[in-house]
């Protein structure tokens, strides 16, 4: 496949991204590409409003009773003072109502059927429910983090620094490495980020990471971007190093 065909294929993926139907792995690849390709970014910006407009066709007539009930419930939740009651995320609402219903069923079973097997089954079910809820919470946290990260990467006021194999992006207090086609790591090695605080004379160790199969990685450094003078990247032994042990892949001042 030549470069032009590859780029056409990427433009197709950009369109799917605008629609919101790309799997997470593909979306990361497109995200990295958009950061460095003006043509694809322009395509995305052109197609996204058209994709968003599709949602407008979903308007449904609602029966008047349901509509009135929904409005009453919403206004009651907001309250007369206009303050929204907290802790009512959408999936939280749905989950909480489901859990209340499930709890009622469980209570009725336990109080009416004094059967040890049922209790055992119940305990197993509760363990399973707890495990599933943990997974849901983890998934939701991951989703939220990824959304925040993507919003940061494309923020209009983000500062972008071109480095070998990608960019360093500073957005507000966050700083990211958006890298692609990184050289494969020798066995037992990882990439490690380094930060140099303003006024400091030596770098501090930051996160370690391994890129995916295509050499791509988007990494958020756990440091406040506004307090940093520079960031760097090097290859280090697994587990990371306290000080760089190899020549840095790049050192990027954050001006």
């Amino acid at each position: 496949m030549n470069g032009s065909l590859e780029h056409e294929a990427m433009l197709d993926l950009v369109a799917v991204a605008a629609l919101g139907s790309l799997p997470a792995d593909d979306l990361r690849i497109v995200t990295l590409h958009l950061a460095t390709c003006a043509e694809c970014r322009a395509e995305y910006d052109a197609l996204r409003p058209a994709a968003d407009a599709v949602g407008l066709i979903a308007e449904e007539p609602i029966d008047t009773l349901r509509s009135a009930r929904m409005k009453k419930r919403l206004l009651a939740a907001i309250g007369p003072a206009g303050g929204v009651r907290r802790g009512s995320s959408p999936s939280g609402l749905i989950w909480s109502s489901s859990l209340v219903a499930a709890a009622a069923v469980v209570f009725a079973l336990v109080s009416t059927v004094q059967d040890i097997r049922l209790r055992s089954d119940l305990a197993n079910a509760q363990r399973t429910t707890a495990q599933l809820q943990t997974r849901v919470a983890e998934t939701q946290r991951t989703n939220e983090n990824e959304r925040d990260m993507l919003a940061d990467l494309f923020a209009a006021n983000a500062k972008r620094y071109t480095v070998p194999n990608g960019e360093v992006v500073a957005s507000g207090s966050h700083v990211y490495f958006a890298l692609r086609a990184l050289p494969a790591l020798p066995k037992g090695k990882v990439y490690q980020a380094w930060t140099l605080a303003k006024g400091a004379k030596t770098v501090a160790p930051s996160v370690t990471f391994t890129p995916n199969a295509t050499g791509s990685a988007i990494v958020q450094l756990p440091a406040n971007a506004t307090s940093l003078a520079a960031v760097a990247l090097s290859v280090e032994p697994e587990g990371g190093s306290k000080a760089p042990t190899s020549k840095p892949t790049f050192i990027q001042p954050l001006s």
């Binding site: 949602g55 029966d63 929904m70």
Partner: protein, 185 residues
């Protein structure tokens, strides 16, 4: 049981300016104008009226508690995308599946900054979508409302993956041109 006709959508962007100033009456009018749209997106994606109700409530509570999330552009398209993203979260929670996971979005809703598109309404979009060849319209609607990846669309339709991607792109480009033409007439 009576059914409300499709409502005339008031200018959501203007109402949101008042909502930001904590104007409860404006919020109520916003709800009256757009709850059928949010409910419709949720119902299409979740297939359950009770869950669609819950989701509609949560979307509007979010609008009230974080009105700054909408910056400018077409409010209807924005809130429909917010509803879609929330419905995707629910679908993920419900199925607890990791495979074929669609992240909710590339950029946060609110990026719809094209002045032309701020004047769109649902009828214009319906007409423009109806004007697309079925082979382009179907994967676009499946992708938006089905909560599935382009790979799943290819699997379900038996059409090669590359063809699906190209049809989505061609369809969205044509849709953009048609919508621009519609609002400028």
């Amino acid at each position: 049981m009576g059914r409300e006709a499709r409502g005339i959508m008031e200018d959501g962007a203007r109402l949101m300016e008042r909502v930001r100033a904590r104007d409860g009456a404006a919020f109520e009018r916003l709800y009256d104008s757009y709850h059928r749209l949010v409910f419709g997106v949720a119902l299409r994606m979740l297939g359950d009226a009770t869950m669609a109700e819950d989701l509609t409530q949560s979307v509007f509570m979010k609008v009230w508690s974080s009105p700054e999330a909408f910056r400018y552009g077409n409010f209807g398209a924005w809130i429909a995308r917010v509803a879609r993203n929330r419905a995707l979260d629910v679908l993920r929670s419900r199925s607890l599946r990791d495979e074929s996971e669609i992240p909710a979005d590339l950029a946060e809703p609110g990026s719809l900054d094209d002045a032309v598109f701020s004047r769109l309404d649902s009828e214009r979009v319906r007409r423009a979508l109806a004007g697309l060849p079925d082979e382009q319209r179907a994967p676009i609607e499946m992708g938006f409302f089905g909560g599935i990846t382009h790979e799943e669309i290819a699997k379900r339709t038996g059409i090669p993956l590359g063809t699906i991607k190209t049809r989505i792109r061609t369809g969205l480009r044509k849709l953009r041109v048609d919508l621009e033409g519609a609002v400028s007439r």
